[in-house]
Amino acid sequence: MTLFDDYLLLLLSVVMALGAVFVRDLLSGVLTLAAYSFFLALLWAGLGAVDVAFTEAVVGAGLSTVFFLVALFLTSHQEKVRKKLQVRIIALGSLGILGFLLLFGSVDLPVVGDPKSLPNKHVSSNYLRRSLEETDTPNVVTAVLADYRGFDTLGETTVIFTAGLACWMLLRRKDDSAT
């Protein structure tokens, strides 16, 4: 797999993102977003992040789209057209600064795809060298996810549990029985 054959996927996902943002009908926007998510999943798979690709396809393109659709189904589809010039100018100004900062910082980032760069060397090569021996798990991502950084994963499961409780608390109705 080489680096530069995913121009097309990048282009497609950016186009889909623009489409999701600028289409007026929210339903179309959400479906375009699902397509965006799917292209991203392909992109992750192409970049070697198969677990992330799987999760993006299942969670991003699947679950979030279902949530969006259910919410739109219960509310309205149409976006009204309005312009608030003042807010836009302030936002564009601050985003311009942020964008400059991103570019400014990116100059010193390691070259994409360099196997000797620091993020690819220091801690992560330890995982790649030791995980099979220490955890008996061929998939290094699973080993890191569930064991080396298992505490993060507990936190992550807790996040979604918190979200479940939160939705239940927010959308509970007075006419539901109390217990």
């Binding site: 699947g62 949530f67 955890t135 008996d136 699973t142 569930a146 979604i160 549990f161 479940g164 239940w168």
Partner: protein, 147 residues
């Protein structure tokens, strides 16, 4: 309230796909060690296999899991995960140190292997149940609010 879908094709496909999705979820869960996938993906797939019949047959006809029970089940999934982590802590080791799980006759790496499987099952239960619970919460509609 989600109404049943009219189409026969949708009904038939929902019937066919539900067990296939569940089987695939189980595969993803068990093979999380050697192939892409694991608890989260399996949990989401399980949730999909519960949400799909609801979308096809309407919420009235498929009240297999109630919202409240789904949250309890999610809690139990996390308790399974954290319980596996707590055992070594109580025995004097570190939280989540599967290498010190009291499973006799195994090397530390094998214990870790089974510990990972255990917590992946916990994650699957928690994610599946919570995702269904969120779906229920979002799709609920009160009385006198039909449109």
């Amino acid at each position: 309230m989600i109404q049943p879908h009219d189409s026969v094709i949708v009904h038939t496909l929902a019937r066919v796909f539900t067990p296939i999705i569940q089987l695939f979820a189980l595969y993803v869960l068990i093979h999380g060690h050697d192939s892409p996938g694991g608890g989260f993906q399996a949990g989401t797939l399980f949730a999909a296999s519960i949400i799909l019949p609801i979308l096809a047959f309407g919420i009235q006809n498929s009240q297999v899991v109630l919202e409240r029970q789904a949250i309890i089940l999610g809690g139990i999934g996390i308790l399974l995960y954290a319980g596996i982590g707590l055992l070594p802590l109580i025995l004097g080791g570190e939280f989540l140190n599967y290498g010190e799980l009291p499973i006799p006759g195994m090397e530390a790496s094998a214990r870790r292997h089974w510990g990972i499987l255990g917590i992946e099952i916990g994650v699957t239960i928690a994610v599946a149940a919570t995702a269904v619970s969120i779906f229920y919460s979002l799709s609920q509609r009160g009385k006198g609010e039909e449109n």
